[in-house]
């Protein structure tokens, strides 16, 4: 179970990236993405921006819930008032994701009972949405504190290690 989180600016430019794993059930919180996934994640999240733009005028919520999925990657999004997109990609089992050879067969079933209770295996349940919402709102708060800095301008990349640790803490707490 691994996550990739990116903040995308108003010109579809990445401002912040982090990947992490779940910390639930005694897991170590490290991402288990394969090498290949490193660029595929960026690619999949970039593609999902289209879906965000499609619904952003008909959904007034900040948290847009699940917007897109590709193979067994599911993407949730929070859109801030200032048109900044928080994209969270979740993948229950990155080792079984066949990125390069696209398969039409159904996605791999979770192998164990424990896995089926994972958030990422059920991307649209209220439980998952609640956890992601709380994670997103906590990041949103840190994000606001970041942009309130008078030296921060729109679409500047965020490099603050404090911000990074805030995001990591929120991830540990909720995901």
């Amino acid at each position: 179970m691994s996550y990739y989180f990116a903040i995308i600016g108003t010109r579809d430019n990445p401002l912040f990236e982090i990947d992490f794993g779940t910390s639930k059930g005694g897991a170590d919180g490290a991402a288990r993405f394969r090498d290949e996934a490193k660029h595929m994640n960026q690619f999949i999240v970039h593609a999902a921006l289209d879906m965000v733009e499609e619904i952003q005028w008909n959904n007034k919520e900040l948290y847009l819930k699940k917007v897109d999925s590709f193979q067994n990657n599911h993407i949730h999004c929070l859109l801030t008032g200032g048109n900044i997109k928080f994209m969270l990609l979740m993948n229950p089992d990155p080792t079984s994701t066949p990125y390069s050879a696209y398969q039409t067969s159904p996605p791999s079933r979770p192998s164990t009972a424990r896995q089926s209770t994972l958030l990422a295996s059920n991307p649209t349940t209220p439980q998952t949405e609640d956890a992601v919402r709380q994670f997103m709102l906590e990041v949103y708060e840190a994000w606001l504190k970041c942009i309130m800095n008078p030296f921060y301008q729109v679409n500047q990349a965020v490099t603050s290690p404090v911000f990074r640790s805030r995001v990591a803490t929120a991830a540990k707490k909720y995901l």
């Binding site: 919520e61 390069s100 504190k145 008078p150």
Partner: protein, 251 residues
Amino acid sequence: MNFHNALMKTCVNPEGLWCLRLCRTAIVGVLLEAKTANYIPIPPAKPFQSTLRYPSNRKTIYDRNLNRTKTTEISLASFAYLFNTLITYHHSKSSSVSEIESRLNRAGYPIGIKMLDLLLYRQPPRSATRPTRIVELLQFIHGTLWRALFSRSADALEKSTTKNNEYMIIDNEPLVNTYISIPKEMSQLNCAAFVGGIIEGMCDAAGFSTDGVSVHSAGEGDEMWPGKTIFLVKFKESVVEREEAIKASGG
């Protein structure tokens, strides 16, 4: 390249043909491998060296509270002093009245961008909604923004009767102009251009781009409100078109 070196070696090898064949199998092998691995791994990022300096009490901006209480309100006196300095600075740098106004506008612009998200955050959790229609956005500015900045709503919100992309927000007595009297030779100047910049920033951030927010004094001859100011918001045609498309699709 190592592979080329290997090829050169086999060619000078006296054992000739056999070695050459072996070499070709190697080439095919390498090609096959390249075919299956049809992605380029991303090199690991360089370790980030932070130049962040912590304040002496170790509290960063991330430890601050974003919600406002009565005790953290800014006094009008200190705001008036700061605003006075801002105007003096821009006055000394500009050669015309319109340049002062555009400079004040630019000073307000980033504030508008940031205020939008801040005000959304301050709304009760789960009820915060992004403004997605022109009227919603204007009501947000007229109500929420004005209350956050000046502790009261603006006085009126009107739509132009002749053009469908122009809206007016009217403030009878702009707080920013409280301690400003305009000299005669600059009678066109209205320092509320700063607030106009804030409005423009907020519209832009919300995805409603404008052709600028112009500020007009309308208090001449008005005995009740001599400082009456009109903020004229001109939305771009594309914004109006998008709005109509959403309405047509039943949104």
